[in-house]
Symmetry: C2
Subunit: 146 residues, 2 copies
Amino acid sequence: MRDERALLERYLRDRGLKMTRARETVLTAFLGLESHVSVEAVIEAARRLDPGVGQATVFRTVKLLVDAGLAREACHDDGTRLFEHAYNHAHHDHLTCIRCGAIVEFIDTDIERAQEAVYRRYGFESSGHRLELYGVCPACAAEDTD
Amino acid sequence: MRDERALLERYLRDRGLKMTRARETVLTAFLGLESHVSVEAVIEAARRLDPGVGQATVFRTVKLLVDAGLAREACHDDGTRLFEHAYNHAHHDHLTCIRCGAIVEFIDTDIERAQEAVYRRYGFESSGHRLELYGVCPACAAEDTD
DNA sequence: GCTCAAATGATAACCCTTATCAATACATCC
DNA sequence: GGATGTATTGATAAGGGTTATCATTTGAGC
Ligand SMILES: [Zn+2]
Ligand SMILES: [Zn+2]
Ligand SMILES: [Zn+2]
Ligand SMILES: [Zn+2]
């Protein structure tokens, strides 16, 4: 939290932008939420801290957080974008339950390595990837057999 | 084309729906396009065949094609959904150039196998996945060095 | 042909996101 | 501390893609 705030302040200062109360509110709200949140969830959380914050400001600030390296866009499959913490939160992929929405974060070195091989095979320079595995989690599968 | 039409007719008949001129137009338009097309592209193609077709109908029909197994939703990263042919078009993943938008379709058995291992590791039942690799294609990379 | 439910197309509504803009808040420099 | 000038804010409107509404038309089966 200290670190994140310092990181944002530095990011802003470096490009002549200002650290404002609204931005502080949005940062605090975002950091207080669990990962994979919509902007709407951030808006609600921010307004619990300060009811007057405008939604346009939250959209703008979340974009700032992404640029500053504090947030990262995660899976967005239904038209709504989701964001997760990016600071001290290494790259990972997602395994999502199509029933209950549970999300498992995982990193698999075999997959990562094989992806690198695909880049080489086609002569592409890598600039990131998005991998979402969909399935039914153990809990939901157990309900099926009841 | 014969097969696809028969497939759609059967799908419709099986659930009391009707094969209409508009649906035939949309099917023909979609099949005549190369893969990874937006609904808007299908609308344009359909209206070249029959200017009177409504856009709502195209949206509805594309959804039907997906349900019937003739189309599949592909990558949609900017808010616009893309669709590709699904009949006689096996599963594959995508390698996309972030400069020119070129798309390479690939299938990598190592990746597929490693994904199965992830499902087993977390006890999930697999129901499909989406893998998009992003990078810079050889042509665009060559431009950079000019 | 007749009948009735399904389908159409024009339009409005919807959701998420971005642009506009006058009013305000911030950092810097006296 | 106070003035200055730009960045930021929040309310609102606009935007793009998609879906809902609904009177009218079309299709399949009898
Ligand atoms: Zn579940
Ligand atoms: Zn995550
Ligand atoms: Zn390229
Ligand atoms: Zn494809």
